[in-house]
Structures are given as C-alpha cells and as structure tokens.
Symmetry: C2
Subunit: 371 residues, 2 copies
C-alpha cells in the first residue's frame, strides 16, 4: 500500500492508495472519531458494489444514505439542501462522518456540504474515477454550481482521510480513464520532464491498466498536485500552475455543453486547452514547433482530442468561437480585467502571463476549433 501524508495549512491527513483499500475503512474511522453516525453520499451506480461493501464493513456504525445521479446538472443547491435535511433530521454532529463515494461531482458537492455543516464535519473521500483520484479529491476545493456558473459557491476543505481503491480503475470506461490521464499529462508538463517521458513511453502499459504502471502514475500525479497546493491553499501563483490548459479548456467545455450536459469530459477539455495554450506559447514566446508537436503526440496516444469539430457537436464554428471568447472573459480566475494564462516554455517550466493579447487567444481558438 502507498500512503501519502498530506499537510495543507495544518490540515494533516493521509491518502491510502491500494487495490482493495476500502477494507480498512472501519479501522481508520474508529481511530479518527468516537461518533458512530455516518452519512454516505454516493453516485447511485455504486449502490450494489462499493456502497454495499462499505455498509457491510461499517456494521458497528449508524448509517444514513443519500444516492444521487452523477451529472454536473445535479451539483446544485437543491441537491445540497436534500443532504442538509438528512443531516438535520438525524442530528448528525460535527464529529459524525460524511463519506463521499463517486466522481468529481459527488466529491465536490458532498465535500461542500460537509465543509459547511456546523462549519465543518468529518469528511472521507472514496473517489471512484481516475479524475477524482488524481484531481478533484485532492487539494481541498469543494463547490456547487449556481445558475450558469460552475463552482460558483464553494469552500476549501480537506477530508480526514481518502481511500483510493485501485480496483475501481478496472471498471472505468476507456474514455473516462483517458480523461483522467489528461490531468497526469498536465502535471508532467508543468513540472516533471522524466514523468512526461515515462507517460509517453509507457502508454501501452498504462492503457492496458497494468497494475504497477497504474499505481505508479497515479501516485506521481497526486504528489505533483500536492506539491503545488501545499503551503498555498488559497489560490495564488504556485497553485495557479495547476490551471495550465484549464482557462481555455474550460471555455471549450462550457461552450460545447448545453444546460450542464457536457459534450467533452473534463480531461478532454484539458487536452484541448493545452493544445490551445501551446499554440499561444509558440507565437507569444517565439518557440519552435517541437513542444507543440510533442503534446499532440502524447494526447493522441491516449485517445484525447486535439481539435474540436464544430459540425459534429452541431454548433456553427463562428458561434462556438464567439461563445468561447465570452466564457473566457467571464472566467472567475480573472482578477480585475487581467486574464492570467499559464504558458510552458520547456517541459517543467510553467509561468503565469497577464499580457496575452486577446486577439491571440481568439487565434488559438480558431486554430483548435475546426468546422
């Protein structure tokens, strides 16, 4: 078993990474709290698998359950209010534990509820997707959407521990698996050339879910994420580098979605966003096309998109580019009209730029978005 000990601004906890690690939940929970009340918030597709198992393992606990659908449209106040109601009706205390079982939507929503119940109750993450393991469950960002704004209402909050059960990777679709790998590639690009080369060379082992290779790249990705968050829990320069590819990628994700129904997975948005900023970097920093080509190759190896085809989505190309530009102006990371874009000069050398001409951003979208 790999154990990652995290210390974010005096919030210390451990991430346990192993096939079958869920088996330890009762022991770990008993060590952390005397309170025997547990509420499970779970993606309903895990009703007969993970959830059933956890309930059986926690037979000496008093368990309440809220199942939900994993769609982004459900990451809202209404769903949060349903969970608050269960907490209130059953006198769930701050030293009771909320266990979030699911992908990013469930972890973000349940984590937000836990972070605010009596100003913070015990939280345990059991991420079920690769994206939730390497990205959303790590770093303390929890949130719900409001109106048309993603993650409008949120908080910074950490679990008492996180269980990453690698048997869950076996059940992921290829598309969801590759989406998570996009975050690993991003982490490699911003900080670790060796890791980038490894992801490039071992793509066959990783894609065929060879156990050692899987554990290894997940472990490395999480450590890079933690290094960027540590000592910097509030948004600021080092953590900001983790948004590499995200500002433009996010605009593409939102612009191609309808009512929170996504066309692209988050990781697919990231690969597209990275290609867009790689284009910007090449122009803005006068780079050769080497880096750009390297990125294209690795994403293609992992079946991640590098171009948007507007007609496939059923949107007019110009309209889509226009929507992307509007969304980018609205981006919440924008502080007082300075749009901050992260560019990479060499692998491992990421930097924030506030002087990218808006025309060059549009050019990047035009480059990525085809008819």
């Amino acid at each position: 078993m790999k154990v990652i000990n995290v210390n974010f601004d005096n919030n210390r906890y451990s991430i346990y990474l192993k096939r079958g690690v869920i088996e330890n939940i009762s022991n770990l929970l008993t060590q952390k709290t005397e309170n025997k009340k547990v509420i499970i918030v779970a993606d309903k597709v895990f009703r007969d698998s993970v959830v059933k198992k956890v309930i059986k393992l926690l037979d000496n606990f008093e368990i309440y359950i809220h199942f939900m659908e994993a769609g982004k449209a459900n990451k809202n106040i209404k769903e949060a209010t349903e969970i608050y109601s269960i907490l209130e009706k059953n006198n769930i205390a701050r030293d009771s534990t909320l266990i979030a079982i699911g992908g990013g939507v469930i972890g973000d929503l349940a984590g937000f509820v836990a972070s605010t119940w009596y100003r913070g109750m015990n939280l345990v993450h059991i991420p079920t997707t690769l994206m939730a393991m390497v990205d959303s469950s790590v770093g303390g960002k929890v949130a719900i959407n409001f109106g048309n704004t993603i993650n409008a209402i949120g908080n910074y909050y950490h679990p008492i521990f996180t269980l990453m059960d690698l048997t869950l990777i076996d059940t992921l679709s290829n598309r969801d698996y590759s989406s998570g790998i996009a975050e690993s590639i991003k982490c490699a690009i911003i900080s670790d050339r060796d890791f980038f080369n490894q992801l490039s060379q071992d793509s066959q082992k990783i894609l065929s879910k060879e156990r050692q290779a899987v554990e290894d790249f997940i472990y490395k990705t999480i450590n890079i994420k933690i290094a960027h968050v540590q000592g910097d829990i509030k948004e600021n320069n080092k953590r900001l580098l983790l948004n590499y590819g995200h500002t433009l990628g996010h605009a593409i994700e939102v612009s191609t979605a309808t009512d929170y129904k996504e066309y692209y997975r988050h990781g697919e948005g990231v690969s597209l966003g990275i290609m867009a900023v790689a284009y910007i970097a090449q122009k803005h920093l006068n780079l050769s096309s080497n880096l750009y080509n390297l990125f294209e190759q690795i994403f293609q190896k992992y079946n991640l998109p590098i171009r948007v085809y507007a007609h496939k989505i059923g949107i007019d190309r110009d309209t889509l580019i226009e929507k992307c530009m509007q969304n980018i102006q609205k981006d919440k990371k924008r502080v007082s009209n300075h749009l901050r874009i992260i560019l990479v000069k060499n692998i491992g050398e990421a930097k924030v730029y506030s002087d990218i001409p808006i025309a060059l951003i549009k050019e990047a979208f035009e480059h990525i978005i085809k008819d």
Copy 2:
C-alpha cells in the same frame, strides 16, 4: 481613532473604531481592491441613513444592493440564494466586495455568502448593533440557520476590514444596548478582573453612553474576544471559553422562542445562562455565594435578566425546563456525548468541564426558571 490589527491564522485585517469612521470607506476600499463592483447587504432600517451615506461615499464604485429584514427567521438558505442570484447576474468577482450593514443576522448571513462566493470574495463588516460590534462581527464565524437548527450551515471567514462607527450606538434602544453589554460582562468574567470592576463601577457612565466610556469598554471587549480566538480559529479550548454561559443560555433562548421569533435578546440569554452556570459552579466546585451574588448585581445594574418567569412568556414552567434540557442535549458543541460546560472559580479563571452531572444542569434550570 482606535485601530485594532487582527491576525487570525494569517488573515490580517484592521478594525477601525471611531465616531464617524464610515467616512473613510472609499479610501480603505480603494487601497484593498482594484475591482469597482460592490454589493451592499443591509438591514432595511438603514436604507435612509447608513446605506444612503455609504452609497454617496462610494460614488466611484458600481453598487448593487440587497435589503433584508433583520429577524433571525430570515437567516436562511432562501435569503442567501437571493443574494447569490444578484452576485451571479451581475458577474460579481472574488475581488469584488460585499459590504454587510446590520446586526448579527445580516453579518452572519452576508458573511456566509461572501465566504462561499467563488470560495471567498472580499467582505467588509459595518456592524450596527453593540452585539455585532463586540461579538458577531469579530472572530470569523459566519452561518445561516437550517430547519430548526441555528447556525447549522456555516464557515470561518474574515473581512478585509471592519468599520465600527460609534455614532450608531446613539440610536440603539436601551434593551439592545444592554444586550450587547452582556457580552462585555462575559468577557470580563472569563479573563479580566479589572475590566469587571470597571464595568461594575462605571455602569452609570456606560448606560448614559458617555463617549469615552463607550469607546473604552467596546475596545476592551473586542481585544479580549480576539485574544481568545487568535491562533485558535477552529473551535478548541481557548476559543471555547467565549461560550461561557452560552450553552445553557442558548437553550433558554431557543426554548422560549417560537419559529425563530425570540423572546430574549441574545445578551439576555447570556446573562441568564451565566447565572445558571454560576449556580452550577457554586454547587460543583463548593464555592461560597460571593461570585454568584456579584454576577447578579452587575446584571441588575445593566437591566439584564437573572430569572425567567415562565408565565410571562406563556409557557408552563415544567414544559420549559423540559425543552431546555432537550435543547441542551442537542447542542452542537456536544462532541460524542460529552457536554462541555465552562465554569468560573474566580473572575478571570474559566475552565471547561466535561463531568457536570446532567441532574445538576437540570437543577440549575429549575433554579433560574420561575413560574
């Protein structure tokens, strides 16, 4: 002008204490943020006074306003959602500023909204009651109620600065003013004998709102509160002492209220709660009646209640005592069945006790609650 520089877990900000200090708002805000968007959340009774003044002073800012009624019943998700809607509709960013103008209800609710909007936007407190100045606006606790549970959903969050305009004290009713003074007396009891003696001796000056006396006791109260919170932002022993009198007082407040319509002001609950725990201390620690008598005297000087008369409230005495006992069992500060009660042996010597017999707590309610 008195300036209190606060540093709560690396959240540094200043509290400005002065008659007419609101005049400085434009300068202070301009120093803190480049973003020109401001949302004012205000108790509607200040529409033509404080709010009008602030709008005039911020003539170079883009201002949105949400007025609300100050009743505890409005400290709920519905009201918060109305504010979130204004924030979303008008693209309010995280470096925009929410200014909360009102008492504890407005500060708690607006502070909670600000703490969660994009995981924390700029917040400025302009407390308008003495209770909000010395208690609710200091220490970072923000919250809304949920169902029947007070402060069920909350957060820890600090403003970028706080303006305490002492001209607002002039307009307070005697009852609201005395309610706030109860918190000052509490602070004195748990930590400062000289301050206690001063409050006792200067009661006429303070009750007649003599300017120097007012500034002085407010300043001292805030400094005691800050000393107890500093380095201990999450609930834990030193901060816990600030709850002196609150556990039992809170049970009386809640049990005598109907649908959040209060019978007692918060400070009145505190004086009653302190008398109840003074009774417990006398029995549990075998004290003479000196301390108990001293507390009775000071509360009476300030017209604060020391007994509950059930028939005046229209509740049967036994029913009320029963309700108080139920509420105390439910108290959220209870961790795993240990009810923590703070007792004071001598003025300035407060300690947390987890071994108070439940029967003695009932006896204290019986002592305080008359027919």
